[in-house]
């Protein structure tokens, strides 16, 4: 039963990781063993701390938006009659059907006061042009909004499914006991689907610290928005494809992977995610 999964994991998961790990100790031009030189080079990069801060700011804002936004929307949808909930759920899902790269392009227009439907809001705040909008909101906020729009719809469907799984007897019993809609949502439903929300948080976290597309594509709005070294993953890309140093790139990617695995394990064991009730 496990073998197809193991084969895929081996060829497309383990093998590239081991290859990168090997590369990270080599000088990839003359093919000699370099020990920790690549790691040293990467850790001394002045952009590293900055990009780590950027990524964590982004992940913090985005995860909060996901947990609060998706939690609230799913619970509200669940309280609606079935038919209207389905219509709404589909409409929430639609923006997620656009790939995240396309969403960036869309947002470049949404952020320009001259063409944005929110132009009057930006003007009311005194933000005259796209550069001011971006610098006032800050890149972490801009990217969080982009990512929220791209991913929330799918998760609303998933959490909606989990809520559907709660037996109607439980809900009816609580109603008989005098709980109102709000109390049912917060005290009964939420504790029963927290595991799905935690799963979403773990997957989104792993996704978030590897962010690449959004900052990379900002350059499409013009040179003044170009941020080729905003995220950690972009740095790895820069090493390989601008400097031509695949060893340094491998070192950065390996460390990024190690960090992601470590933090995910902390969350999994910290929340006793796999413990059966």
């Amino acid at each position: 039963m496990l073998s197809p999964y193991l084969a895929l994991l081996l060829f497309f998961g383990m093998a590239p990781v081991l290859y990168a790990l090997g590369l990270s100790f080599m000088d990839t031009i003359d093919w000699v063993f370099w020990g920790f030189t690549n790691y040293q080079f990467v850790l001394q990069d002045f952009r590293l701390i900055e990009s780590i801060t950027n990524v964590f700011q982004y992940v913090a804002i985005w995860l909060t938006m996901m947990l609060v936004g998706i939690g609230a929307l799913s619970l509200m949808l669940d309280a609606l009659p079935d038919r209207s909930a389905t219509v709404l759920r589909t409409s929430f899902f639609l923006p997620g059907a656009i790939t995240s790269s396309a969403i960036v392009i869309l947002w470049l227009f949404l952020l320009d006061p001259a063409v944005s439907p929110y132009g009057s809001l930006f003007e009311a705040l005194g933000w005259e042009n796209r550069q001011q909008v971006v610098s006032h909101m800050g890149y972490p906020m801009v990217f969080s909004l982009m990512a929220y729009l791209a991913y929330s719809g799918g998760w609303i469907v998933v959490i909606g499914g989990a809520l559907k799984g709660i037996s109607t007897e439980v809900i009816e019993a609580s109603r008989v006991d005098g709980a109102n809609q709000f109390q049912i949502a917060i005290r009964i439903k939420l504790p029963m689907v927290w595991r799905s929300l935690a799963l979403m948080a773990i997957l989104s976290f792993a996704n978030g610290i590897q962010m690449f597309v959004e900052p990379q594509l900002m350059a499409l709005a013009g040179r003044q928005y170009s941020r080729p070294d905003w995220s950690v993953n972009q740095l790895a890309f820069q090493y390989a494809f601008n400097l031509g140093d695949f060893g340094a790139s491998a070192a950065m990617s390996t460390m990024l992977l190690a960090a992601a695995i470590f933090i995910s394990l902390c969350v999994v064991f910290g929340t006793r995610f796999y413990k059966m009730d």
Partner: protein, 417 residues
């Protein structure tokens, strides 16, 4: 009967010719979309060389070349570089692509280019790594009818430019963009800022200096002009800027040589009889202007190509063939081609005056000798700091210096004191 024998003779002749002729040498070239036609023209003009043209988006080229060289497959024999930092990026120990053509190109060919045209191709240690396709130095574009209407004379100095800016702002007009990094950087460099120039004779030591008097004066001018609105808060390709221009609000624009043909005409849809050009601006105290450039592509070859002679011929022909360059869409870097090109511009009734080319040519000698390719992206470092806060440029000068020094060090440069 007669006809048939004739046909047979003809067929035999063709066959014999085919056998006698050597197989054409096959070269793979990477091109941007604008260079496809010129490459095809080369192919058509050379029976002994056959080109396989692959289109690559300019920003992706370095990355794709790194991959190709790593895998050892499909490395192109020659490339067009629209982004000049690729010259430096592709001639390092880590990615050693470019062929040194110093002793393969005659001095007479080198001398046939306009002044300063080849400086981006000359490495600090004296190697010639490419030949230049087109020149893209900054000149002063202006709206002639508006200048006449307001009774203004065309500025020659930055001081006069600022005065005109004041007047423009009072009349609701603009004289450029205060956010697009390259035009802003042009103003700073014209004043004497040094955002990382190679120290003479060295290939890996650069000098960063944002503290000279002229540099600070230039930054203060940009700040004042941003403040009074004469430099637009929008980039020249942003919708708001385009709308402003189409409403007739653009009085002047210090832009590269290609700005008329490639932006004012197609994007701004400027009417005929409006646009005129003047020489690059200088500061009062300067003997002559120092004009930065924006683009101006180059052709380079692969150092390990199997056909070095043909590759050198390709690079030479693409940049110096007057038939080809004379009808190019951008100002040829090759002097003789450039004068052929001039006739077209001079006879184009779209320009308000027929001396546009002459202004470009005179300004070519003011082209900054340090303009060229660096392994890191000066513009990216600049826009990163500029976008980070709304503080004045004068206040941000030390931050630019720090960011550029740091980027340069990561790219393997040493910083001169």
């Amino acid at each position: 009967m007669k006809l048939r024998s004739l046909m047979i003779t003809a067929a035999t002749a063709v066959l014999a010719a085919g056998v006698a002729k050597a197989e054409p040498v096959k070269l793979t070239v990477w091109s941007d979309t604008a260079r496809i036609e010129p490459f095809k023209a080369f192919d058509a003009a050379h029976d002994n060389i056959e080109l396989e043209i692959v289109t690559v988006a300019p920003p992706d080229q370095t990355a794709k070349l790194q991959l190709a060289m790593r895998s050892g497959d499909d490395v192109p024999d020659a490339i067009f570089m629209a982004e000049l930092q690729q010259i430096a990026q592709l001639s390092t120990r880590r990615s050693n692509y470019l062929m040194d053509i110093s002793d393969k190109i005659d001095q007479s060919v080198v001398d046939s280019f306009l002044p300063n045209a080849l400086s981006p191709c000359q490495s600090g240690d004296g190697r010639l790594l490419c030949l230049r396709n087109d020149l893209a130095h900054f000149i002063a574009w202006y709206n002639k009818p508006k200048f006449d209407e307001l009774g203004l004379s065309v500025p020659t100095t930055w001081e006069e430019f600022e005065e005109i800016g004041k007047l423009a702002a009072e009349n609701g007009l603009i004289v450029g963009s205060g956010t697009q990094p390259t035009p802003v950087l042009n103003m700073l460099i014209a004043g004497g800022c040094e955002p990382g120039f190679l120290v003479e004779g060295s290939d890996d030591t650069i000098r960063v200096d944002f503290t000279s008097e002229g540099c600070i004066a230039a930054a203060a001018m940009v700040d004042r002009m941003r403040e009074n609105g004469s430099l637009s808060p929008h980039g020249p390709f942003e919708p708001s800027f385009v709308t402003d221009v189409q409403e007739g609000k653009l009085l002047m624009f210090n832009g590269p040589t290609w700005f008329g043909e490639h932006v004012m005409r197609p994007l701004y849809k400027m009417d005929a009889g409006i646009l005129a050009a003047s020489e690059s601006l200088k500061w009062k105290g300067q003997a002559q202007p120092q004009a930065w450039s924006w683009g101006g592509g180059v052709f380079g070859g692969y150092r390990d190509t199997e056909h070095p002679d043909e590759v050198v011929e390709l690079i030479r022909w693409m940049t110096t063939d007057t038939g080809l360059q004379g009808r190019a869409t951008t100002m040829p870097a090759h002097a003789e081609s450039s004068s052929v090109w001039r006739d077209r511009v001079a006879n184009d009734p779209w320009y308000a005056q027929n001396d546009v080319y002459d202004k470009m040519e005179t300004s070519a000698q003011y082209g900054h000798p340090s303009y060229g390719g660096y392994r890191f992206d000066i513009m990216a470092a600049f826009s990163k700091i500029d976008g980070a806060s709304n503080a004045s440029i004068v206040d941000k000068l030390p931050d630019y210096a720090a960011e550029i020094e740091n980027s340069a060090k990561v790219a393997g440069y040493k910083i001169a004191n």
